[in-house]
Amino acid sequence: MDRSPLMRLLNKVNLPLLLWTVLLVAYGTLMAASATSGMDGGAALVKRHVVGVAIGVGLLCVTWTADYKRLRLWVGPISAAGVLLLVAVFVPGFGASAHGAQSWLRIAGVRLFQPSEPAKLVLIIVFAAAIARREGKMDSRGELLRVLGWVAVPLGLVLLQPDLGTALVFIAITAGMLLVGGAKPRHFAMLGLVGLVAFALVLAPGILPRKFALKPYQRNRLMVFIDPSVDPKGAGYNLNQAKIAIGSGGLFGKGLESGTQSNLNFLPERHTDFIFAVVGEELGFAGAVALLALYLALLITALEISTSSRDYYGALVAAGLMSMWTFQVLVNIGMTLGIMPITGIPLPFMSFGSSFMVTNLAGIGLLLSIWARRYGT
């Protein structure tokens, strides 16, 4: 090992991952500023976004410098804290609702964050520990079910809110980690079947008690995905307007702050769930493909980190993060392009929302930590 100290330090830092992250966050901030330029209080929103990024960067430094392996020792308290947060939203005085879901944590009347966002990270950390204990083997159904027990509690809690989008992200994370954790194809087939039956039960009105059935608006969103013309002024409106925004962007877009669909308010939720439509409209195919390329770079880098992890645990955590991002990119962009249902899943690093931004940046910190310790410490 005849490397200079600088090279040794550089060897510990995954520069590409840092670069992609910086680019994505910058891109997101730029689009947030453009999307909110015509809104009342747009500047305040951008400020909040930047504050979210700052908190996220702070947390990133913590997760980066700390040894990720120590998280395994804290699985008990961490999962307890996660469950506590998810339960807290139901406690009167602590919970607040948004878009029909009891998803916000509120203390002294101030909305703090959405516990379901850090819960994604908690799920990854805890679930990875559960699988890692089995050293890549998951031969029996009993083992599989025992592992899945760790997922059942948080999944049930977000479904109670009800936050269908986050629940789907949980499922995607679980599936990705099970894949790396050694689940067999027949396991996936079995789980898929169970999921389908559950989905059918939930979607068909009147079978389940009202408490567990989908809310009418959620049902509507799924129906609209199947046929947007059922509701051109309601849920279908969002979808149509998003598609018009992206399509009208053409090759090179209409220019920042010049998107007619977004600046004239035709595009709903344009700085949050539909931020990609603003990218497509204002920067066109070129801007949208650049974003896809950034995601590809980020995910491949994460894959690289996962494969180079010195232990099973790190590989699983990285795989969980990768699954989360891949799924969210797929569903969010797919939604605005009309190939996925409208589920209210935000776009990583791009959508407005501090809870989500902080979670993602903490995840990046974990990846950096896994990379830095790939040779052991």
Binding site: I246, L264, L292, L303
Partner: protein, 634 residues
């Protein structure tokens, strides 16, 4: 892959590979594949949406944000022959409301209080099916400023109600020439199908009658468009483009406002005079004044008249009903061309010309009038209006004193020739068909003949034969003969002008944008009326004699210009006699022809002729005086 190459630069590949990594290699490959499939699918979808369908979506985005707002084109004005505006436009503050407002009883009562209008009238205006369903309707025009400001302050209480400035028709001369000018209104379903109105839409304001209707396409102009960008809530953000409206063209009529006013006053005087002469049912009538050389209509009056202002901003159904009731004598009708009357003795000029043409009469033929005429047999005896008889009369005297016997005789002689020559002459002089005047609604009148009678009475065969009495009755302008005042004026004009059948018209010219003449009325060469010049000269002398010493003498006593004319007193079953006078002047070089009719006005010489005198006086630059005289002739 570039990326791994780059990574390898910074992190040279590990030499020592742990066993579990090898184990996981295929699983990571699956994960990597998934990532590539996901992003690849999104890429392909992005390509189809943005590149392949981009233009379609761009159009949809434009449809979203661009609204076209129509800009009304100012309607052309209507001027008299000397350039005075008879119809023009003015901006008016109007309270308008969407039709749905009618469904809100609370709002209706609030509007009723505010605008001081009965609720049912507001409702009726809002529910008018004559308008496009989504266009706001005018509830009240010319609202006072305090109502405007009240509505502005309380606009949340009045959703769908707005104050707008709209251009409406204005009539600087009041109801002068209302029948010629006509009125405007929202296009009706029926009008949408009319040929010259193709391309019009529900809600467009169009001419409904008179010159407004006839010259609609010239007056209308072309609407402009304002393209504005709106946001999702429909609020205007900025103006994108504009096509200026093209103002409608000004139309100059042949009418002379001064002559027109005198004609209308003369008609009113004549009706008053009829009342004074105990003809109390007189309410309606018409006057036409023509230029005998050109066919220019210099004045055209019809009574009773109406106020075209009622139509501004949409006429209320109560007013509309009133204007179309029998008891109101249908004031919207222009009787100068929409009403056909028996011409009575005014037709003797036509009969006389037919007699001269076919040799059954000469200027100095003599006749014997004993009051009762029995040539067709005693059971078919007919009386002259002068029951005592005129004694020995010449053809000339027959015209001057309007002796019925002379014309019974001529009619009977013509009947005996069995060639329907009276009808032929009448038709050549323009009767029985439209004059072709450039105003809507003209009727043809009727020249009865054997074929007509057979057809008319086809279900009553016993009455279908043309009888000698039919021609004899027609000879004195009674029986089934019907003419419009316009036809009569034009027929007399042809006697005065040497036999030319001019086409009467009200259009003089159309002005261009610069106010210069862009289009002049194109006069066709008038055809002959078929009567030889010598016979026309005989008739001119006879008609001059009417005014000089005959039935028209009293009305024209002291008149400085020479006038040729004929009185008429038409008998209409179940009604009082209709008074007629038709004239042209000056006799030596006729310039103008005037026809006057007063329904149930009594005698032509004492009711209609004084009115004709007033109009001719104005036309010829003489003092206009109202004359009271007596006449007992027919």
């Amino acid at each position: 892959m570039h990326l791994s190459a780059l990574l390898r630069l910074v992190h040279p590949k590990d030499e020592h590979v742990t066993t579990f990594r090898q184990e996981l290699r295929s699983r990571f490959a699956t994960l990597g594949l998934l990532i590539i499939v996901v992003l690849g699918a999104l890429f392909i979808r992005l390509w189809t949406v943005q590149v392949i369908a981009g233009e379609r979506y761009a159009r949809m985005a434009d449809d979203n944000r661009i609204r076209e707002v129509e800009i009304e084109a100012p309607r052309g004005r209507i001027l008299d022959r000397r350039g005075r505006a008879l119809v023009t436009n003015r901006p008016a503050l109007a309270v308008t409301a969407q039709a749905v407002v009618a469904e809100d009883a609370g709002m209706l009562s609030r509007l009723s209080t505010l605008l001081d209008m009965p609720v049912d009238e507001i409702e009726e205006r809002l529910c008018s099916s004559k308008q496009a369903p989504l266009e706001p309707r005018v509830v009240r025009l010319d609202v006072p400023m305090e109502i405007v400001s009240y509505l502005a302050e309380h606009s949340p209480d009045f959703p769908g109600v707005r104050v707008e400035t709209i251009a409406v028709r204005e009539y600087p001369f009041g109801n002068l020439a209302a029948h010629v000018l006509g009125y405007t209104g929202e296009i009706s379903e029926g009008q949408l199908g009319e040929r010259d109105l193709s391309g019009y839409r529900l809600g467009d304001v169009v001419g409904k009658a008179g010159a407004e209707r006839r010259f609609e396409t010239v007056l209308q102009g072309r609407k402009g468009h304002e393209r504005v960008e709106v946001n999702a809530s429909g609020k205007v953000q900025r103006h994108v483009g504009r096509r200026e409206p093209i103002a409608g063209r000004d139309v100059v009529l042949t009418l002379d406002a001064d002559i027109q006013r005198v004609a209308e006053e003369a008609l009113a005087d004549a009706i008053r005079e009829a009342h004074a002469q105990k003809f109390r049912k007189a309410r309606a009538g018409a006057i036409v004044a023509l230029d005998v050389g050109t066919g220019d209509v210099l004045a055209m009056a019809s009574a009773p008249t109406y106020d075209p202002k009622l139509f501004v901003g949409g006429i209320g159904s109560r007013d509309w009903k009133r204007l179309n009731e029998k008891s109101s004598e249908y004031p919207l009708n222009n009787r100068a061309l929409m009403a056909a009357y028996p011409p009575a003795s005014t037709f003797k000029a036509v009969t006389g010309l037919a007699g001269l043409e076919y040799g059954v009469a000469r200027e100095w033929s003599t006749y014997r009038c004993g009051g009762r005429w029995t040539e067709m047999g005693t059971e078919w005896a007919k009386w002259c209006w002068s029951r005592g008889g005129h004694g020995g009369v010449t053809f000339r005297r027959g015209i001057e004193d309007s002796c019925d016997t002379v014309f019974y005789k001529i009619g009977y002689e013509l009947y005996k020739r069995k060639k329907e020559e009276l009808q032929a002459v009448a038709r050549k002089m323009g009767f029985g068909r439209r004059t072709g005047i450039d105003l809507p609604g003209e009727v043809a009148g009727r020249v009865p003949d054997a074929a007509w009678k057979k057809r008319f009475n086809r279900f009553f065969p016993e009455y279908s034969m043309w009888l000698p009495g039919d021609t004899v009755n027609m000879a004195i302008g009674q029986g089934d003969m019907l003419v419009t005042p316009l036809q009569l004026a034009r027929g007399y004009a042809s006697i005065g002008n040497g036999g030319l059948m001019v086409r009467p018209h009200v259009l003089k010219e159309v002005l261009g944008e610069d106010g210069e003449v862009a289009l002049r009325y194109e006069r066709q060469e008038p055809g002959p009326n078929g009567v030889r010049a010598v016979n026309l000269a005989v008739m001119r002398r006879a008609l001059a004699g009417v005014v000089e010493r005959g039935t028209g003498r009293g009305a024209f006593a002291g008149f400085a210009e020479s006038v040729a004319g004929k009185t008429g007193t038409a008998q209409v079953k179940g009604k009082d006699d209709y008074a007629w006078f038709v004239a042209f002047a000056p006799v030596e070089q006729p310039k103008y022809a005037v026809a006057v009719v007063v329904e149930q006005g009594g005698h032509g010489g004492s009711v209609a002729a004084p009115a004709a005198r007033q109009v001719l006086a104005k036309l010829l630059g003489q003092p206009v005086t109202e004359i009271h005289t007596t006449d007992v002739s027919r």
